[in-house]
């Protein structure tokens, strides 16, 4: 791997990790992990369609992801199937549709492996611009609506009764996850995208005592995983996306060595000291 492509990949990966941390926290808090997987699986269909229609790949992936999100919302209204069953239908059928489309239209000339597992050598300046634009959008929305989204995560009715407007919260988060999939695909690949959202946030949970702290730690852990993974990939010639995830996993496992900040104990101790 040349220094230049490693640098570009690092630049893109760090941009991604900066917003994947806080967004991943919401994915965990609101149990959207399977939704994230579905978004990711639909990405291949997005790629095929964007090549077919000659539009930018991130745009095609984003468009298909939005359609899936809307389909999910509509199907959930039916209330006869649970959300995970609907996601199970959407997730695998979009992946299958993508695979069939790629095979049926040979002029698409799509190198499957590159999209399934990521291709950092192919990361160009334009991709960096797309990543940072998308990341800025995700970060901006999360920052602006943090209190509303968090309050709605705890209890939507409470948030609404007390004057916040969380009505679109769910859809907004779906769109943000769709955006993150669209910008991350080229770097880590379809099959591993959600891990970038989930593993850093899950690691941060063990260390954090507040939602904001968890988001902050998840960002740091994400940046460490990306830089560690990409360095490892360049040294040992391993696939970049997978290396990033392995690095994230190592951090997750390492976090178990950190003595749990058992809150009960710490505040009980504090109480005890006061009374003594």
């Amino acid at each position: 791997m040349s220094d230049n492509s490693l640098f570009l990949a690092l630049l893109g990966g760090v941009g991604l990790a900066l917003v994947a941390g806080p967004l991943g926290c919401f994915v965990i808090w609101r149990r959207m992990a399977y939704f994230g997987d579905t978004m990711a699986h639909s990405a291949l269909l997005g790629v095929a369609l964007s090549v077919l229609f000659g539009i930018h790949m991130a745009l095609g992936v984003f468009g298909v992801a939005i359609l899936i999100a809307i389909a999910l919302v509509i199907l959930q209204r039916g209330e006869t199937l649970s959300a995970d069953a609907i996601l199970g239908v959407l997730s695998h059928s979009t992946l299958a549709l993508g695979l069939v489309l790629v095979a049926l239209v040979p002029q698409l000339n799509i190198d499957l492996e590159q999209f399934l597992f990521g291709n950092i050598r192919g990361v160009g300046t334009m991709d960096i611009v797309v990543i940072y634009l998308g990341a800025a959008g995700i970060g901006g929305v999360l920052f602006r609506y943090w209190r509303t989204l968090l309050a709605a995560t705890v209890n939507r009715e409470l948030a609404e009764a007390e004057g916040l407007k969380p009505a679109w919260g769910n859809l907004v988060l779906m769109l943000l996850v769709a955006t993150s999939v669209a910008i991350a695909m080229k770097l880590v690949g379809i099959l591993l995208i959600t891990s970038l959202l989930i593993i850093p946030a899950a690691t941060a949970r063990r260390l954090a005592v507040s939602p904001e702290q968890m988001a902050f730690f998840a960002t740091i852990i994400g940046v460490l995983a990306v830089s560690g993974g990409l360095s490892g990939a360049s040294v040992w010639g391993t696939p970049a996306g997978a290396s990033i995830v392995v690095a994230a996993l190592s951090l997750f496992l390492l976090s178990f060595l950190v003595p749990t900040q058992n809150l009960t104990d710490s505040w009980k101790d504090a109480q005890g000291e006061k009374t003594q």
Binding site: T153, V154, E157, L158, A161, G163, V209, P211, L263, S266
Partner: protein, 277 residues
């Protein structure tokens, strides 16, 4: 419980209500916060509630009772503005500030949240205010405890403090004593009537138990898809609609929590709470 003691209780209640009415008039704080006129909510093809007429005045405690699916929560949602009426009208004063204690609030372990952070969930508040409000409910020692570790009684008290830190005009409590042991229920009801006395906010309460109505309640509204009957607790208890809805047994079982003014609030954990040291 024999008839005499019920009669005594009712008399005692009547005195209390008289006192409140006099206080309200002398304070001259009467102000209608929420006014429902023939309000109804239709979901799909089913009417959740219909033709609800209900006014909530400042400084008043209104208790909603009724069987499951009778529309208690729907009426509170109309009052908070979360639901818009399909028919009829719901008028709320401008900038009505609401404090809400929702029914069944489950916060999973995935979300790191301590009591102090929960207090600022829907708005920013200073540390002093947080401590002050938690002290009011005797929970300041729980500041740094994770919300998931609180006992039922502790959690409800903290939720009450969280709603009150907003200094609301209207406090909405949806089944506030659910999952709370008996001793803590009494403590909660004491706190609720304390809050009204201290802040003169209106309180809309959904009773978790048909037969338990706070003595401090000014008005009981008995729902069953519509307003069956309403009035003072003793009036509703004696009304034929109430008896028809809940049966003759209900009359005997209508327990009314007595309010005592000689108690104190400190940070001592309530009996039955988990963290008694």
């Amino acid at each position: 419980m024999d008839d005499l003691s019920i009669a005594d209780r009712l008399e005692n209640l009547n005195d209390q209500h008289q006192r409140h009415k006099e206080e309200k008039l002398s304070n001259n704080t009467d102000q209608t916060l929420v006014s429902m006129h023939k309000a109804g909510v239709c979901k799909g093809k089913r009417w959740l509630v219909r033709d609800v007429d209900l006014n909530i005045e400042r400084g008043e405690i209104v208790t909603l009772i009724g069987p499951n699916g009778s529309g208690k929560t729907t009426v509170t949602r109309l009052a908070t503005g979360v639901l818009k009426p399909t028919s009829g009208k719901v008028a709320r004063i401008a900038k009505l500030k609401i404090g809400h204690v929702p029914q069944r609030l489950n916060i999973g372990w995935a979300l790191p949240l301590n009591v102090a952070r929960l207090m600022t969930l829907t708005g920013h508040h200073s540390r002093n205010d947080i401590i002050k409000q938690l002290e009011q409910v005797g929970a300041s020692h729980l500041m740094h405890a994770a919300v998931q570790e609180l006992s039922g009684g502790e959690f409800q008290r903290v939720l009450l403090a969280r709603a009150m830190i907003r200094m609301p005009d209207l406090l909405v409590l949806d089944e506030p004593v659910q999952g709370v042991d008996f001793a803590s229920q009494l403590a909660l009801y004491r706190l609720i009537s304390d809050i009204r006395a201290r802040t003169n906010c209106a309180i809309l309460l959904v009773s978790h138990d048909l037969h338990v109505v706070m003595a401090e309640t000014d008005r009981v509204v008995c729902l069953n898809g519509h307003v069956c009957c309403s009035g003072s607790p003793e009036h509703v208890a004696g009304s034929s609609e109430y008896l028809e809805l809940f049966g003759e047994q209900a009359r005997q079982r209508l327990a009314i929590y007595q309010h005592h003014h000689d108690h104190t609030h400190d940070s001592a954990p309530q009996p039955g709470d988990k963290h008694v040291r």
